[in-house]
Symmetry: none
Subunit: 225 residues, 2 copies
DNA sequence: AAGAATTTTAAGCAAAATTTAAGCTTCCCC
DNA sequence: GGGGAAGCTTAAATTTTGCTTAAAATTCTT
């Protein structure tokens, strides 16, 4: 899951990035409205977190532009004021929810999860066949035995399962899991696919990750055609 | 033990926070009904202290909403009036007890303890394997021998045990145990984990605190998968 | 106010995770 | 069947993260 934070205060932005990466999100940061808008329009994010008071282009304006471009990505705005009018103004501009500063990190997290749950209602049970993953507790179960995965391994598996029954192209994987935007010839994905398979097979998941030559990988829900 | 105070007067709120933290409670404050309700619904508190006369959303309304959400957390309300009808009205809205302003801090504390005692009887005690902790007396037993912990050590262990079988991320720990919201660069947690482990191991608790690299720590109840 | 206990900071070290790079295997198309 | 591209595997290099320790700063006690 890939997030963009538009926030000018480096302290807050850094804190959010660290905390969210611990939750296995891939996080980009923009320090002003203009570059934030650029990023939001160029890349495919699963959610935007925008501070209302930022230089170059206000949060509201960014929000409007994103919507004007027809992008329905969930937007959460951070505000110091929470007067009714400000909130209404923000929601009218196209935001989905707001949170008042200073806030608890957990509250932010809860609201992010609400938005992401809304985003793909069909897809919120994160499982495929015998595999079951829990993004909140960071656990992976294969039947009844737990797998111990490293952070990157977990993100990759999560991404594949969230997009199960769809082919995940290499470029999408590298963007969403590694947060690399430019094309580079790296074989990191291959390596991590190998790592995952090596842990999944002995646990009884079989060869659940299938290779689509020339394109990418797919995890299929068994029993569907 | 985590408390939420919903009180608009900063003086009173601050006074309560200080006093309760001396008693080893972790205290959050909300200065109006709306943000108080948000916090109460998102986080898991052991007790709410709500002033009846607060802006944005009245204490009664907050109380009703909490109950409506099916949350059975004990609620203590602060009131300036103590006419019989007001009290009845409050208790009907779902509060568990009330205290009239101005009040003695000791009395408040006593009433809090009553509510928490009730709570503890229903819930199972705070333990994990051979470890047993008592949040009221601040004692830790490992089998039959008592461990002497400093306040911070105790809070950290308590937090981990309260969340046993769940991964506690570094951000959550720093928020709940240290009450730091915007500091990404500290190694206090590592140090305290070392302190705890150094006291726990010789007492026979083994390596009960496990590290989840890149994320945080977890205490597992032995015998569960 | 001095001393003791606790908490925090900082640095070096060790271990784990990640990335890179190279050789090997498989698949596809001619 | 051969050549080449794509993917797989492995090992080594690099980076990140956590552990430990000691010392500094703070808080509590007497």
């Amino acid at each position: 899951m890939r997030l963009l934070i538009i926030e000018d205060e480096p302290g807050i932005a850094g804190f959010l990035k660290d905390g969210l990466e611990e939750e296995y999100f891939a996080v980009d940061i923009a320090y002003d409205g203009k570059s934030g808008l650029d990023l939001a329009l160029i890349n495919e994010y699963d959610l935007l977190i925008i501070d209302w008071m930022i230089p170059a282009l206000s949060g509201i304006e960014v929000c409007r532009q994103v919507r004007k471009a027809g992008n329905p990505v969930p937007i959460l705005f951070l505000t110091a004021k929470d007067t009714l009018e400000d909130v209404l103004f923000g929601l009218e501009a196209g935001a989905n929810d707001y949170i008042k500063k200073p806030f608890e990190f957990e509250e932010l997290l809860a609201r992010i999860r609400v938005q992401l749950r809304n985003k793909n209602q069909n897809n919120d049970s994160l499982s495929a066949g015998i595999l079951n993953i829990n993004p909140v507790t960071h656990q992976v179960f294969c039947g009844s035995n737990e797998l111990i995965l490293t952070p990157k391994e977990f993100s990759l598996l999560e991404y594949l399962i969230r997009n199960k029954d769809r082919v995940c192209t290499r470029s999408r994987i590298i963007e969403h899991v590694w947060d690399i935007h430019f094309d580079s010839d790296t074989s990191v994905i291959d390596v991590y696919i190998t790592f995952l398979r090596r842990k999944l097979e002995p646990a009884g998941a079989g060869n659940i990750i299938q290779t689509i030559r020339g394109v990418g990988y797919i995890i299929r829900e068994p029993g569907l055609s």
